[in-house]
Each structure stands twice: as structure tokens, then as C-alpha cells.
Subunit: 185 residues, 4 copies
Amino acid sequence: MSAILDAAIRVLDREGADAMTTSRVAEVAGVSVGTLYQYFGNRDAILHALQDREFERATTMMMRVLLEAGGVAEPRVARSVIEELLKLYRAAPALHRVLAVEGLRVTDSERVQAFDLRIVTVIRSFLMLGGAALKPRNLDAAAFVVYQSVRASMLAYLLEQPAGVDDATLVDELSALVSAYLIGT
Amino acid sequence: MSAILDAAIRVLDREGADAMTTSRVAEVAGVSVGTLYQYFGNRDAILHALQDREFERATTMMMRVLLEAGGVAEPRVARSVIEELLKLYRAAPALHRVLAVEGLRVTDSERVQAFDLRIVTVIRSFLMLGGAALKPRNLDAAAFVVYQSVRASMLAYLLEQPAGVDDATLVDELSALVSAYLIGT
Amino acid sequence: MSAILDAAIRVLDREGADAMTTSRVAEVAGVSVGTLYQYFGNRDAILHALQDREFERATTMMMRVLLEAGGVAEPRVARSVIEELLKLYRAAPALHRVLAVEGLRVTDSERVQAFDLRIVTVIRSFLMLGGAALKPRNLDAAAFVVYQSVRASMLAYLLEQPAGVDDATLVDELSALVSAYLIGT
Amino acid sequence: MSAILDAAIRVLDREGADAMTTSRVAEVAGVSVGTLYQYFGNRDAILHALQDREFERATTMMMRVLLEAGGVAEPRVARSVIEELLKLYRAAPALHRVLAVEGLRVTDSERVQAFDLRIVTVIRSFLMLGGAALKPRNLDAAAFVVYQSVRASMLAYLLEQPAGVDDATLVDELSALVSAYLIGT
DNA sequence: AATGAATGAGAATTCATTCAT
DNA sequence: AATGAATGAATTCTCATTCAT
């Protein structure tokens, strides 16, 4: 039930990851723990569902931006993706924090499931489509490095609110970073 | 006592973050919990101490590399720092994972203490010294973005061991990323 | 509804006593929990119904065997009853295990209801009918001891499958035990 | 700690098996749950410890009785063992009930550990020592059947307090049962 | 200073039972 | 009569922290 997922995000963002206990989520969702367990077999299932939702949102967004750009890799496209991603992250920073943290905790068997790896695969295929405009690069590594860079910077920006950096600056610099690296501009 | 810190790292890297309980650390260190609490008032104090030690190592390393390079910002310098950083991370990936994770959990009052922010400050001053060779940039943002990018990529690389990326590739791509962004090469 | 009782036995024997939850029984029976509660006011009511069914089967079987033997107490009769009982137990060992366990849990007020006590009463009346052929005994105690002995041995045999004992051996030894005790042969 | 084991028995006998929760045992023992878990890694460990203690008591008792009898198998010996066993059972009927119940729940891997099987082995070796006086029997089956019979009758007697049976009668009949079966008297 | 037994709040999870539809 | 989502008390187990020795 999406009420439970929404409650989980709310708890995550307002009270922190430690507060995301099954009881607290149930309480905030306005249901009993029992009900929560009817929908999610265990605590992790909630995070998995959240991950799937976010993964879909991010993927959809990237596809939309790329389609609007006509499939051409340009600084403009990178900037659009980064802007949209910032919106996605801002909607639930703590969720993305948890997703990132859990991604790094992933065990071999679950590896393919991790948010990280799924997104990197999507980015990799975008880079392949970008074609001639891009500098020649090891696609695996480039997709990996670009994703980690953007994700980490955005996340740390939202959670730490470092002095001297605001939304516009962050988008500018991340766009510059990615464009310089991938396109050479 | 550094025996306790070493034990903490050992537990962290061999048994995972969840296993780093105060009792387990004490056990591995060969002391009693009571003794551990004599040196570290609470669990977090251990992490703080670990953070300080890592911070010092990283800072020292960067200074050394920069001095050896004669204070000039060049791709070669970026690559050296990245290579050295990889060594530091590889020595205790799980420690750096925890440091990263905890850094993002930081509350306002402790903000200045976080590993992240301290390192960004150091990097910022390096960028200032780099002088004319560098593209003009918002220093705060540039230091921030560069640090987060390198740190996240390195950490994810060590913990996730993504397919298609090895040490050399990672160093190459991170160097390219940073150089293209800061120097334009 | 006997579909529910059959489901309960199936669950009991295939999945164990712990798995016999009301939901699981309902599921296996192909009805909803709600429906189950329409027929059985609470979980225990299912066990009571099961007990009644088993009690009737055992009683009927014993009567049939005794009638076929012409009402005379002989080793041959004891053996027949034991053989038939083994069949009954083998059809649903876990059920009989639960019945035995629950019988021992019985509270004062429900005492008369317990499978144990009901069966012992039936056996007692068989012994009375046996007449002159039997050694003189305290009938209450004899019925009690004989029943407990046969039941426990059979149950443990089916559930533990002890080394060195098979169907034939068990029937032989139990027959010898009972005959020696009651008839002196 | 034996205070915990004693508390477990007290709870078992006064409040029933269901009441034997870790918290309740800790409470009755006058310690915290945490302390309980320091001594017993999990709930079952308590039962295992109890089992070991009872096993040792029963074994010691049987050896003592047999030694006193000079190693000869006679009705008198059987009666003594039965009398002593009744004392042991009476001291904690609910404990023996649980031990019996758990014995039947035993899985393959733990089989050898079960109270039942351990005791049967001991009895088997007593029967071997009994020598010429005994009727020829399949030792495995005889030990098994005798143990189950005595145990079940005694337990049901203590827990159900069946009408028409008292201590003396029970001992008489069980002695008669065992003697008739094993010795032919 | 060192010890480590004791603490107990708190977390995840289960399941008999109810009741509105 | 049937349904099955919702309930929530109860249970097991963990671990940071304390304190008497």
C-alpha cells in the first residue's frame, strides 16, 4: 500500500533512518503493524519497494529528457538531467541517502538488485546512444563514475547544505563536470 | 588506545558495520568493555577518533603530493592524489564507508567535525594554491564536487566491485574527470 | 466442515504443529479465515473436532476387533488391536502427537473431554468384558497403563523412527508386553 | 546459572509451558532478560540445559539402584527404578512433559540429543547387563517400549491424576507390566 | 585502571481473532 | 454464509552502557 511507502518516506525524511522502525512507519501510515506486515513481509521489503519506485522515476525522467533532446548528447542534456535529478532527490533526500547506503551494503547475491547498479546500467545505455559527440571512454567506468559523482554530490549537498553552494551553483558545477568529462566542453 | 581503534577497523572491515559492537571491538582488542569505555566515553567516540586519524592521513598525503609537485596544479598532480587516495581507501574500505555514511548523518552542531567538511576545506585551499592553471570556478562548489565525486566513486568501486572497472581504469577515469573539470585537459 | 478438518490434518502432518495456524488451515482448505471461524469458534475447536473424529474411529475399530474375536480376551486380540491402532496412527502421526500433547495440557474443567481419558474408559470396559481369562488387576490402573504404554510407544516409534525397530518388531513387542501383563502369556 | 534453570522449572510447573517465556523466566529468576541471554543464547538453550540435568539425574539414579541390587535383573529392581523415577517426575512434572513433547519434535540432526533417545540407550545397556534372567528380546525394541511405557504412564498419571489410580497402584502396575514383559513374572 | 556481569529499552515479527462488506 | 484486511498483544533477541569489585 502506497500509504505505507509514503509514511516510510515521511519518517525517513523527518526523523531519520534510525526512526524508520516498522512500528513507527505503521503508526505514521495510520495502520497497525500487522497490516504493514500484510503488505510487506519484512522491514527490508519496504526499502525494496521504495527503491523500485525511485528507480522507475529516475529512469522515466532520464528517458523523457533524452527524447526531448532528440537523442543527442550535449551539455544541455546533461544539465537537464541534473536539474531533474535534483528535484527527485530534494523530494526525499533521506530516502536517497538510505538507498545509497544500502547499495554499498549489498551482498553478491543481491547485487543486481541494488539501486546503484540498476541506474548505472541505464546510464551506460544512454552513453552508448550519445554516439559520436562523446569522447571515447570505457563505457562501464564512465557510466559508473558519472553516476557516483552526481549522486554523491547531490546527496551531500542536500544533507549537509555546505556553505557557499546553492542549487544553481551545484547544477552549474555538476553540469560542467559531466560535460567536460564526457563531451570535452 | 590505538589497540582499540585498530580492533575497530579490523572488525569493520572483516565483519561489517553491524558487527562493530562495543563488546566485539573490546574482545578483538583484547580488553574488556569496561576498559574500552575508559578510553572512549561512548560508541561514537570510537568513530570520531577513527575519523580524526583518517583525516590526518589524508591531509598529510595531499600535502606531501602537492609539495612534491612544487605546488603547481596539473593533471599529473590530480592523478597522484587519486592514486594515493585509493591506497588509503583500500586499506580500510569499510571504515571509509562508515565515515561517509556517518558524515551524512551529521547534525548541525557537529557539522564542522564531519570528515567530509574538513576534507573539503583542505581541498579548497589546495585549489586556491593551484592558481592560474585552473579554470575559474566557484571554489567552494568545485572543492565540494570534486571531493564527493572522487570519494563516492572510489568507495563504490571498492565495495561493489562493479563489472568492467579495475584499479587502472578507475584511476584513469577519475583523473580525466577531475582534470577536465578543473584544468580543461 | 470436514474440508477444514482434513486441511488441518494435512497441515499438521506435512508442515508440523507450528504451521497449523488458522490462516494456513483455511488456506489449505480453500476457504477464508472468516469462514473457518464460522464453523469453529476458535482454534481449539478444530482440535476438539479432530479429537472426536479420531476417538470415534479408534472406538469403532476396537469394538469391531473384539466382536470378531467373540468377546474373548486373548493374545490374538491384543495383537489385532495393536495392529489396527498402528494403521490409525500412521495415517496421521502428527495429529496424534498433538492430541497426546494437548491431552496432557488439559485443565480440570475439560478433563472429561480429553482423548486420553475417553479412550481409557473404553479400554476399561473391554477389560471388564474380557472376564476370567485376564489376570486379576485394578481395572482403572490397568486400562490406564496399557493405553499409555501402547500409545506412547507407537507415537514415538512413528515420530522418532528409532534405530533397530520396525513395524513388525514393534507390534510383536507391544503385543508381548500387553499379553504378558494382562493375560500372563 | 542454576537460578535461571530453577526459575524455568518453577514457571513450567506452576504456570505451564506457554508461560515459559524468556521474560517470565528472567523475572522469576530475579534477573533481567539480558542476563538470561548471557547464560543461555536462546530460549531452547534453557530447555537443553534442563534436559541435560534431568538426564544425568535419571542415569545416576538407575546406576545406583542397579549397583545396590548387585547387577541382577529382578522384579525388585524394576520396582525400585520405577519408584525412584516417580520421585524424579513428581519433582517437576511439567518439565518432563515438555521434555517428552520436545523429544517428539526432534529433527534428524538433533535426534541424538533428545532426552528420549539418550535414556533408551542407557536402559538398553541395563538390559544387556541383566543377562540370563531376562526373556530373550530384541534389545532395541524392548528398551524402547519399556521406556515409553513407563514414562508415558507416569507423566499422564502426574498430569491428569486419573480416577482410581494412586501412587502405590501405579508403581504396582508398572512393576507388574515391566516384570511380566522382561522377566516373565 | 581494568573487569565483565547485569541491565532494560527497543526492535522485528507472528498469529488468533474480529467485523464491515 | 463467505470474505480477508486489519488489529495489536505478545514474544524473542540485541546491544550500548553502567558500576561494584
